[in-house]
């Protein structure tokens, strides 16, 4: 009885110190959240001049990862797309793990004005005004690479039906890229990826396309702010302006 009690006391004390350890982290998060909300408000209301004219020449492809539960909120998604369209983004890739966006957004966009659906195998592209929207889910990631691998493997095996004298297969990364296109999963590499969800996590976005993508965590979709989107795009364009005329391998430091 005494042993059980003393172990309970120990656990309670440990738990107390653990909460104490987490306190500074929570305080820093709260402080940073408040400062950001103020900044986003100032950006949205046009108080900060430098965020008014965004240079979008470096941002050709933007991707958004949404937590699947939040993706069910189609109103928010449409609002986000309209913000991006008004900012002037030309190509947006929307991703959620479970394919919620594919079901809800595609039907919505199809019924809106100027619909034109370009049909890939697992990807739907819909032209909304002057912006192309691509919809992806988890199966467009690892599954797509497996399909591309099957494609390459069949090509390799085809030449000689039994293959006893065949050389070892030697593929290049370009072969894999071309195979992905051939099986209907070719798409551009996003320059910037915005993550809407509780954590900064890409949740299985097609690996082949995010080699050098800048990944920014935006918080939850429910509390999304226009100022946050503007700031993310502004920071991206500022950073990449500094990289102008610099080949990529030079700024890829470690």
């Amino acid at each position: 009885m005494q042993r059980v009690q003393s172990s309970k006391i120990l656990r309670f004390t440990l738990g107390f110190f653990w909460c104490l350890l987490h306190l500074p982290v929570s305080i820093v998060h709260l402080g940073s959240y408040l400062i950001k909300q103020l900044l986003y408000y100032m950006i949205s209301s046009g108080l900060l001049q430098k965020y008014q004219n965004l240079q979008l020449d470096k941002l050709r492809y933007l991707a958004i990862v949404v937590e699947s539960e939040e993706a069910k909120n189609t109103t928010k998604i449409k609002q986000l797309l309209s913000w991006l369209s008004s900012i002037g983004v030309k190509y947006v890739t929307l991703y959620d793990m479970e394919g919620v966006l594919k079901k809800s957004v595609e039907t919505d966009l199809k019924s809106s004005e100027n619909p034109s659906v370009a049909d890939g195998n697992a990807v739907a592209s819909v032209h909304q005004e002057r912006m192309t929207v691509e919809l992806l889910s988890f199966s467009d990631g690892k599954g797509a690479v497996a399909k591309a691998a099957s494609f390459l493997c069949l090509q390799y095996l085809e030449g000689d039906s039994v293959g006893y004298n065949k050389m070892e297969p030697v593929f290049t990364e370009t072969d894999v890229t071309n195979a992905l296109k051939a099986v209907g999963h070719g798409g551009p590499d996003p320059d910037l990826l915005l993550v809407y969800g509780p954590a900064r996590c890409h949740l299985g976005f097609p690996a082949w396309r995010i080699r050098y993508t800048e990944i920014v965590h935006m918080g939850s979709l429910r509390s999304m702010k226009y100022g946050a989107v503007v700031k993310a795009i502004y920071d991206f364009s500022k950073k990449h302006q500094n990289y102008e005329n610099m080949p990529q391998f030079v700024y890829e430091h470690f």
Binding site: F17, W18, V25, A148, S150, P169, G197, A207, R211, Y212
Partner: protein, 289 residues
């Protein structure tokens, strides 16, 4: 006499610091602890520039930071630590910088295999992941020797990604899967039957996701729980793109040689905050598949 006293004083301080560290880790372990942490060690060159020293010294300072971080991780009970030491893209740098990095790597690999190093203290198993044929002969041989001599160690695992990119790893897995497939077909023919999966209607499933994952360098290693890229950069730079589906991506501001004990503790605390969410996503994804 003086130095003896100094030595015993510093030993005592070291002992006290070690004890305090262990207490802190004990408290931390009340919450969920990561099993695998991956580091993108970015910022050595910027560190050297800011201190106005030679670039080589930046990388040396980076190696010192690495050994400390490894020590702390293994003390905390993190079983797998992976680091991104050298990308295939980095071969495009100035030849003398590449050469000095290769020399430093060989020197450090040799040091790690010595009797009194951290490797023997914790019985660490070392992996070198990447296209090792791109390395110069002495470095490749040193790496292979390190892998062979630690292969039977049962302690924590230290994986070094050198001459590595994630896309290269995936491409290599595709090649290996093809070879495996060819082998299975040959066996089938020898036994007198045709391999059914090469029929037209199954052409998409000749190679599956599981086949590919079996041939990745990381096949015997769990996915990283945390990926930390120092220097505040937000890119993954072609590192473990396949394996980071549910990894918490962190990008602390300090440069890699400045990454110390408190930054590591902060990283763990951040991870513990979002662990319930990531664990729930991981479980529900496993159930679906």
């Amino acid at each position: 006499m003086e130095t003896q006293r100094e030595n015993s004083a510093s030993n005592l301080l070291g002992g006290v610091w070690c004890f305090l560290r262990k207490c802190l880790f004990f408290v931390l372990s009340f919450g969920p602890m990561p099993n695998h942490i991956a580091f993108i060690m970015d910022g050595n060159r910027r560190y050297a520039k800011s201190r106005r020293v030679k670039q080589g010294n930046g990388h040396r300072a980076g190696f010192t930071a690495l050994t400390s971080v490894l020590q702390y991780c293994y003390e905390m009970g993190v079983k797998y630590v992976t680091v991104y030491a050298f990308s295939i893209e980095n071969f495009k740098r100035q030849p003398d910088e590449v050469q000095s990095l290769m020399d430093l790597m060989k020197q450090k690999i040799d040091e790690l295999l010595k009797e009194e190093s951290i490797v023997n203290k914790y019985r660490i198993r070392i992996n070198f992941w990447g296209n090792l044929s791109l390395l110069s002969e002495p470095v490749r041989l040193a790496a292979e020797k390190a892998m062979a001599s630690t292969a039977r160690n049962t302690g924590p695992v230290f994986s070094v990604c050198v001459a590595y990119t994630s896309t290269n790893e995936i491409m290599h897995a595709v090649e290996e899967s093809c070879v495996e497939k060819r082998g299975r077909i040959r066996k089938g023919y020898n036994n007198g039957y045709k391999d059914e999966s090469v029929q037209a209607d199954n052409k998409d499933s000749v190679i599956s996701v599981t086949d590919l994952e079996r041939h990745l360098y990381t096949s015997d290693c769990p996915d990283p729980d945390i990926v930390i890229r120092t220097s505040g950069e937000t890119r993954l730079s072609n590192f473990l793109l396949w394996q980071t589906t549910f990894s918490h991506l962190q990008n602390p501001v300090p440069l890699w040689p400045e990454f110390s004990f408190r930054h590591l503790v902060w990283a763990i605390l951040e991870y513990q905050r979002i662990y319930p969410y990531l664990e729930q996503r991981r479980t529900s994804s496993k159930e679906k598949n």
